[in-house]
């Protein structure tokens, strides 16, 4: 019994480690981009520190987001919850709000494209479908 609990702990721990490694990689990429842009260098320690920070901050983010959604009696976290996360700094909030509108816009355009495609595609297949409906009504 104890062994089982231990393995579960270990599994969770190594899962966390893998996630941390992935975060570390992404942070490294971002920092490198920034470094190229600003002609600066980041020491490995700094990247590790930022990456650890980011990982820990995610825990706070996750718990807050969950609570916001629950407060609104929802189980799915939406963009409003994320915006609440960014409330503490005005410039951050503005940036995130702008991004959120950008994302919404992109998604709208994508949906419009998809709809157009499926309308063009299903003109051929619509007739059989209607026939099927007629049959089921009988």
């Amino acid at each position: 019994m104890e062994e089982e609990a231990e393995t579960e702990e270990q599994q969770r721990f190594s899962y966390q480690q893998r996630l941390k490694a992935a975060v570390h990689y992404t942070v490294g990429c971002l920092c490198e981009e920034v470094a190229l842009d600003k002609e600066m260098q980041f020491s490995k320690q700094t990247i590790a520190a930022i990456s650890e920070l980011t990982f820990r901050q995610c825990e706070n983010f996750a718990k807050d987001l969950e609570m916001f959604a629950r407060h609104a009696k929802r189980t799915t976290i939406n963009t409003e919850d994320v915006k609440l996360l960014a409330r503490r700094s005005n410039s951050l909030l503005k940036y995130i709000t702008d991004k959120s509108e950008e994302i919404a816009q992109i998604n709208l355009e994508r949906k419009a494209q998809k709809k157009k495609k499926s309308e063009d595609g299903s003109k051929n297949s619509r007739q059989p479908a209607e026939a099927g409906v007629v049959e089921s009504e009988n």
Binding site: L30, T46, E59, F61, A62, V82, Y95
Partner: protein, 79 residues
């Protein structure tokens, strides 16, 4: 991939897993839009650290951990 933002950033799947790791309720889910916003937020978080660093390290060519420690409290307050 889809070119939504400039250059690299957090993958949506990674962000989703990171968040789910800390959810207390199994039923909690994240909408696609919210996930994308989180990617942006995390990018800002990482970039903000180096941005504040740069303000302090005009002369230095390398960003060091000591300088990071100095700005940490302020940064965390912002979040």
């Amino acid at each position: 991939m889809e070119g939504a933002g400039a250059g690299s950033g957090f993958r949506k799947e990674l962000v989703s897993r990171l968040l789910h790791l800390h959810f207390k309720d199994d039923k909690t889910k994240v909408s696609g839009d919210a996930l994308q916003l989180m990617v942006e937020l995390l990018k800002v978080f990482v970039v903000a650290v180096r941005g504040v660093r740069q303000a302090q390290a005009e002369d230095a060519l390398r960003v060091d951990v000591d300088q990071l420690e100095k700005v940490l409290p302020q940064l965390l307050l912002d979040f």
